[in-house]
Amino acid sequence: MNRDDTGTDARRRFGSLCESLRPDLLRFAFWLGRDRQLAEDVVQEAMLRAWKSLDSLTDQGKAKSWLLTIVRREFARSFERKRLEVTDLDALVAAEANVLAAEDDDGLAEMREALFRLEDEYREPLVLQVLMGYTTQEIADAMGMQQGAVLTRLFRARARLRRELGLAGESAP
């Protein structure tokens, strides 16, 4: 295989990788920032940074966590730049009503709104676990926390959702 063939093949594989990961990254960014435009901007910017720093990815098996880390950093930069503050959750929910809607499934729309209203500190580890398939140790590494703290947040996140959705029939610890 000559050099050109190698580069073309690699480009195709990396493009395919980005294409396959982009939906989950976009969903992750959306749930992180609760703003579809911000999510699209953050993921685009993250992809750009990824291509620029591709040589730092030496293990393709870690591409997803590598890209996710870039998205998290880019999201933090955006927040810092725009000094975004959430002051009105109702307005936030209304602004994204189109995305949160679930035809023929009120329960799903209700869950989406409950997730939307969950505090950042509980929502992010839950999204990493359920949507991105991270273990609690991987979440701890990504968020710079102890694993025990992650477990506590995940427990509280579910407890709050159960309360919010009226599912907490029994007392939970």
Binding site: R3, T6, G7, A10, R11, R13, F14, L17, S20, R22, P23, L26, R27, F30, W31, R36, Q37, A39, E40, D41, Q44, E45, L48, W51, K52, L54, D55, L57, D59, Q60, G61, K62, A63, K64, S65, N98, V99, A102, L108, M111, R112, L115, V127, V130, L131, M132, G133, Y134, T136, E138, V150, L151, F155, R158, L161, R162, L165, L167, A172, P173
Partner: protein
Amino acid sequence: MIDCLELRRRVGAEPFTADADLEAHLVDCAACTRYRDELRAMDGMIARALAIDVARLRRSAASGAAESPQSRRRLVAIAASLVAGLAVGLVLLTAAPRASIAREVVDHVVHEPATMASTVPLSPAALAGVLAPEGARLRPGIGDVTFAARCVHDGHVVPHLVVRMPEGAVTVLVLTHRDLGKPLRIEDQGLIGRVLPAPRGSIAIVGQDLADPDAVARKVFEAVDWGV
């Protein structure tokens, strides 16, 4: 032996966790069993809720982006950087060794023995939540699904199921990101199975002591409905 408080703390953080201590407690505690099942069902709903339709997300964002010169400039910058950026460093990816599908599947199963611990069937909602992001569902009747979660595999998040069939318990990995030209055999580390080309990517079916792995794999394959 763990108590109810400890069980609920652990299950509340990881509804699909399973080990001997948890199972021993659940055998004698109907309330905790109900709590665990409720949380698993809720996780199925959470997974479905989080799996927002990306087309809708991007359509909505695109309509907003049309009003944003900053976003347009960013798109142009990305296009330009794509050409330049891809030329740099991509050789690394090609040079990196990539394990075979069969080896990856075996490694995945071997490293998660706890997934085989539970014998309690999951609710249809919990199972649907795990498969929905792939646009798939499992038709009922093939066997009890006792584990279902979305796991990181080969850099992707994939559905991981344990299905207890009459022929034996099998692990199923739905690999929509891995296209396959022809079926592969798996015989490694005491596991036997097949990886079959699927309408989207491929699907791996492995177990232990399967008398007829081809028939089992075919049965699982035919039970997956890709039209969701």
